[in-house]
């Protein structure tokens, strides 16, 4: 009975709606064009929304925004062995941004590494990876960038060192090391894996950091095999070595959690990777996060480039480790636990943490020197933090405590020297 009443009520209002609606008299042609217009607007809006997501996942913002500057207005400084690159403004400003660019120009930059004027671009802009981005995705990102408010900001020109500032060299580089090509799906794998591969190899440009480069910035070909970040005292660990950051032995859910929150019970992201998580990866959709995780997990295992040689346990080493243990007790144990077990969700475990045992101690040294907070994400707005010890502990003591951490609770790793700590005090 009640339902009947409600139905009648709704029917009544609907009728009222029809009665109150102004009479529409459109010619059939106008009606059609109006419908097309609505469809177009919806399509354009849809493309922009997609573009916004893709720009996030490509982390365009990370490089195209100066330190505390306006989003996408450029001015970010990349200090490399090739020279100092200052990233361009990619807002829609016609004079200082890319307001005069066309879809075609944008595609050529991403896909062919060429600017609007046809000049070759330096691969500091990771077109070696972006070349695999589809035309459809490129157009969507462009539509999004063009929809942003124009920011008038002229950035200083990059200062490229001699001889790299001699453009013909770029041509040679492109000839030898770069071939444009879109992502070709592996038909033996499922769609999810291919989506992950597309994102990792293309837009995600993971290999821009996670590979070894020589002084010319040329990747030595071991894809995702880990390497020192150019112009920075951070080491991007190998994503294929079980000594480093391979996730072959992780459950998919853990990999997803690391991508989206920056920390799991097994690992926590630090330094530049923490920024990548908060600026970009945390926004991965559930489906894309699973796809990326699936692809990363499937990467064939490789030997690490160098293995940490654990020290033979001489009396001298034992004495050093004991000293390190005392420092650990004073400064680290409170948070990381007396067996390096950490506290899930707050402080990472150090026992079994490959971030502290891998051959290169660079990242662990930096974490001790500079401290820092775990990445801020939508689910973690108030992360716990690590104090900086650069002002508190001299190089020798940091070396001792890290050597202890690398050789306790089942961990085995090379001893750290005060010289290694000193090197990390300098540099970006």
């Amino acid at each position: 009975m009640r339902y009947g009443f409600v139905t009648i009520l709704i029917a009544g209002f609907t009728g009222l709606g029809i009665l109150l609606a102004p009479p529409v008299t459109l010619s059939p042609a106008a009606e059609e064009s109006k419908a097309a217009e609505i469809r177009d607007t919806a399509e354009i809006e849809g493309q922009r929304v997609r573009g916004a997501y893709l720009a996030r996942i490509g982390n365009c913002l990370g490089c195209h925004t100066a330190y505390s500057g306006l989003p996408y207005a450029g001015g970010h400084i990349l200090d490399t062995s090739i020279g100092i690159f200052i990233t361009p403004n990619i807002t829609s400003d016609k004079e200082t941004g890319i307001g005069l660019w066309s879809e075609e120009d944008f595609w050529r930059a991403l896909h062919n590494g060429r600017g609007r004027d046809g000049n070759l671009l330096y691969p500091a802009f990771p077109y070696s990876e972006y070349t695999r981005v589809s035309r459809e995705d490129s157009d969507a990102i462009f539509a999004y960038l063009q929809s942003l408010p124009a920011v008038r900001q002229r950035n200083a020109p990059s200062r490229i060192n001699f001889p790299f500032n001699w453009r013909p060299l770029l041509q040679i580089w492109q000839l030898i090391y770069f071939s444009p090509g879109i992502y070709l799906p592996d038909t033996l794998r499922d769609d999810e894996w291919n989506r992950g591969a597309y994102l990792v190899q293309g837009l995600g440009h993971c290999n821009a950091c996670h590979t070894r480069r020589n002084i010319l910035g040329i990747s030595k070909g071991d894809i995702l095999g880990g390497g020192q970040l150019m112009g920075s005292n951070w080491y991007a660990p190998s994503l294929t070595s079980l000594q480093e950051a391979s996730t072959a032995d992780w459950p998919i859910e853990d990999i997803k959690r690391l991508l989206k929150t920056g920390s799991t019970s097994r690992a926590v992201t630090t330094g530049p990777m923490a920024n990548v998580v908060s600026q970009s990866l945390q926004f991965l959709t559930e489906d894309d996060a699973r796809a990326v995780a699936k692809y990363l997990k499937s990467l064939p295992e490789t030997e690490p480039r160098s293995r940490g040689i654990a020290p033979p346990l001489t009396e001298e080493v034992d004495r050093q480790l004991k000293k390190g243990g005392q420092i650990y007790e004073t400064y680290c144990q409170d948070c990381h636990g007396n067996l390096g077990e950490g506290a899930p969700g707050s402080y990472p475990a150090l026992a079994g943490n490959r971030g502290v045992t891998m051959a290169s101690p660079t990242n662990a040294i930096r974490s001790i020197l500079n401290g820092g907070y775990a990445p801020v994400t939508e689910v973690q707005q108030r992360p716990y933090g690590m104090p900086p010890f650069a002002q508190v502990l001299p190089d020798g003591e940091i070396a001792l405590v890290l050597s202890y951490i690398r050789n306790s609770w089942g961990n085995r790793g090379s001893l750290v020297t005060p010289e290694q700590v000193d090197r990390s005090r300098k540099g970006a």
Binding site: Y67, S68, A274, N275, S278, P312, L313, T314, E315, D318, D334, C335, G337, N338, L339, E341, A343, G345, S346, Y347, N370, G371, G372, Y373, P375, V376, Q381, R382, P383, Y384, G385, M386, P387, P388, F389, A390, Q391, V392
Partner: protein
């Protein structure tokens, strides 16, 4: 088998038996979250290398928030603070500022000063009266009659190490502090002071004892004269408190 390995293994085994992991609950508090700050800004008596770090407990919340934000965004240049705060949202910085503002902590004992020093006269003159001829306002004009600061944005000047005050003046004079921000009242004032005057003021301020009743300055906010407020771009009026 190498005997030292055996010994080591035995030691590890003993350790594992003797020291079970103490499952420690991590308190879900602000106090736990600002442990990273305490290593330098802790309540302990500061000696030697730690002397430089300023006291932040009990300083006005708005002042602390502004400084945190300035460090994070590179406007107040100090690399260790910038690295530590990288990426933290404003709301979290407010929380940290509020925590330290609410602390009531013992002040360090005053640093020694010879009362007969001619510097005392110089310092007291500048602190209480400024120098109208050189357009230098009195310290008490902004920082409160008792120099303990004025909520919410002006810091107290007592209880800071002499070397810290000197260093801040040096930075203001050379534009290293609050770079790229004009006008910046303290930078303008610092540039008008001679080295001797800076040294005298720093010595006098660091030598003042703080009565226990003043450990936490919770006094109501006082309006600054508009003319002064305008000169200090470092005082950022908060349109909306994100808390």
């Amino acid at each position: 088998m190498n005997p030292s390995i055996l010994i080591r293994s035995a030691q590890i085994a003993l350790l594992l038996i003797g020291l079970p992991a103490v499952a420690h609950e991590i308190p879900d508090t602000t106090e736990e979250r600002v442990k990273a700050c305490i290593i330098c800004h802790g309540p302990e008596d500061k000696k030697g290398r730690d002397e430089y770090y300023p006291r932040i407990a009990g300083k006005p919340e708005g002042y602390l928030f502004n400084q945190l934000r300035n460090f994070r965004d590179g406007r107040r240049h100090y690399r260790p603070m910038a690295l530590l705060l990288e990426g933290l949202p404003d709301a979290y910085l407010w929380e940290m500022a509020g925590y330290f503002a609410s602390l009531k902590q013992a002040f360090p004992p005053p640093e020694p000063m010879r009362a007969s020093s001619p510097k005392v006269k110089t310092a007291r003159e500048l602190i209480e009266h400024g120098d109208a001829a050189r357009n230098i306002p009195a310290c008490v004009g902004c920082h409160g009659k008792d120099l303990m600061g004025i909520a919410p944005f002006i810091p107290g000047l007592i209880g800071l190490p002499r070397v810290y005050i000197m260093a801040q003046f040096g930075n203001w004079q050379h534009g290293a502090l609050m770079r790229g921000r004009t006008p910046d009242c303290m930078s303008e004032i610092a540039k008008k002071l001679t080295t001797e005057e800076v040294s005298a003021v720093a010595m006098w301020l660091a030598a003042q004892p703080v009565p226990e009743s003043d450990w936490r300055h919770a006094g109501a906010g006082v309006e600054l004269p508009k003319r002064l407020a305008r000169r200090c771009a470092s005082i950022i009026p908060q349109k909306s408190n994100p808390k």
